[in-house]
């Protein structure tokens, strides 16, 4: 008998997608003159206004919480969402290593609601008890901690952990049954590799750095990308164009913000087919990613309005919407 365990959840998500912001809603938000007007507009569209009506960050945080509350209400297998939190989980690992090695860091630097709590993460690093951590991050945690203790090189530690995060996403995506997860993993890793190569080329990083940082993906040949990054930005652009990333090159040539926007849009493009899927967890994952994208775009607009930045400056950073 076919698996229909997501039919109810997907139908609910289809209704909830009606509340997602499309391009026209984002245009209306852009038309608001001040950040306060934006907050009022968001409130009219069902966003919860915090106790302090000017506290935009609380509003955005609450919306993120609401997304996960909705997903938890659906009573589906939450393990399909694990891959989405890998970057946050590995970020927490970096924070824990630095807190243990360097001393206390800002308490707010840890992402909440991860598979491993802040306390467990700190305990694992303090006691070198990696069994608390998920299997995919144990080796990286041990290696990064040893490197940090021996070299005190925070950047090297970051590279090790970030590379491990990309490897974990790539592995999880490669073995995922859901197409959306495979596409998500491929997008995340390929975009991260492109960013590393571009930044490496701009800052003149050596081969060792690039080999440590780049993670394998299907869209890119790492050897060719490394060689191009060592030759310079122009060579990276030529290689990316050959690999079908001409849009990334165009964006990169325009400005860094357009390039960042292209990077985020890749994820949204990867989840588009989920609009027409009714039977798997794909639309649920797409909804979570679409909400994150929506919240990020609203944050960009609110920050721009709060700082009275020119409209063109804000508009350049607005991400594509899922609906």
């Amino acid at each position: 008998m076919p698996d229909n365990s997501y039919v109810y959840a997907v139908a609910r998500i289809r209704s909830l997608e009606m509340g997602l912001f499309g391009e026209s809603t984002i245009e209306q938000l852009m038309a608001c003159k001040t950040a306060e007007n934006c907050m009022a507009f968001l409130s009219e569209h069902g966003w919860e206004v915090p106790a302090n009506p000017t506290d935009a960050e609380s509003m955005l945080k609450r919306e993120q919480e609401r997304t996960w509350e909705t997903i938890r209400e659906l009573k589906v297998d939450m393990s399909v969402f694990d891959i989405l939190s890998y970057q946050q989980l590995y970020h927490n690992l970096k924070a824990a290593i630095k807190e243990i090695c360097v001393g206390s860091v800002d308490a707010n630097i840890f992402f909440p609601d991860c598979a491993v709590s802040k306390e467990d993460m700190l305990h694992a690093i303090q006691e070198k008890d990696y069994s608390i951590l998920p299997e995919h991050m144990r080796e990286a945690a041990k290696y990064a901690l040893e490197t940090m203790l021996q070299t005190r090189d925070g950047q090297l530690c970051d590279i090790i952990v970030d590379h491990a995060a990309l490897m974990a996403i790539h592995e999880k995506g490669k073995h995922a049954k859901l197409e959306v997860l495979r596409r998500y993993a491929e997008s995340v890793v390929s975009v991260a590799d492109i960013k590393i190569a571009v930044r490496g080329a701009k800052t003149g990083k050596n081969r060792l750095f690039l080999e440590r940082a780049l993670a394998p993906c299907d869209s890119l040949d790492l050897e060719k990308l490394t060689t191009a990054a060592l030759m310079g930005t122009e060579a990276v652009c030529t290689y990316l164009t050959e690999c079908g990333f001409a849009e990334a090159v165009e964006a990169l040539k325009e400005s860094n913000s357009l390039f960042e926007r292209w990077c985020d849009n890749q994820i949204i493009h990867a989840i588009q087919p989920q609009k027409y899927n009714s039977f798997t967890a794909g639309p649920l994952i797409a909804y979570v990613l679409a909400r994150e994208n929506e919240i990020k775009t609203v944050r960009i607009i609110l920050t721009g309005k709060q700082n009275q930045l020119p409209e063109a400056f804000i508009r350049e950073r607005i991400r594509d919407m899922y609906v």
């Binding site: 039919v7 109810y8 139908a11 609910r12 289809r14 209704s15």
Partner: protein, 156 residues
């Protein structure tokens, strides 16, 4: 087995297989309908109609079973004397609605789920959304016609 057993088995097959298909189809469409109504109760009537569409195969199976039982005299209380060949012919005549009913109801249920997705996002497109699962009905009706014509044409 004598002819009566085969004929009865045919009636049971028609009702059971088509009924199983409809139960699955209505069930899966019902899950999707419940999901939409959870968020927007105003769409209840529209999604209910879409949920009911895969239920027709069960009715067709029941209809063929009744006709068969009537043909062989089980309903009237005067059982006909059936040869093995006649019984097997009646059994075969019942198979189209049994098999096609089972499969078409399951697929119609899935199509209804997809159409419920349309109604969730674009309720004004309800008419078009109805057409997609209704197309699957065609094949159940064809199978029903074949089964009825065959069952009623077999001399008892």
């Amino acid at each position: 087995m004598n002819g009566m057993v085969w004929a009865l088995l045919g009636a049971v097959t028609a009702a059971a297989l088509a009924g199983i298909g409809s139960a699955y189809g209505v069930g899966v469409a019902g899950q999707a309908a419940a999901g939409v109504v959870t968020e927007d109760p105003s769409k209840f009537a529209k999604v209910l109609l879409l949920q009911l569409l895969p239920g027709t195969q069960g009715i067709y199976g029941l209809l063929v079973a009744f006709i068969t039982l009537s043909q062989i005299g089980l309903l009237g209380g005067s059982m006909a004397e059936l040869s093995l060949g006649t019984g097997l012919m009646i059994f075969c005549a019942c198979l189209p609605i049994g098999i096609v009913g089972l499969i078409s109801a399951m697929y119609q249920g899935k199509t209804s789920v997809a159409s419920i997705g349309i109604v969730a996002k674009k309720p004004e497109q309800f008419g078009k959304a109805m057409l997609f699962p209704a197309m699957v009905e065609t094949y159940a009706i064809l199978a029903l016609l074949v089964s009825i014509l065959a069952v009623t044409s077999i001399p008892v």
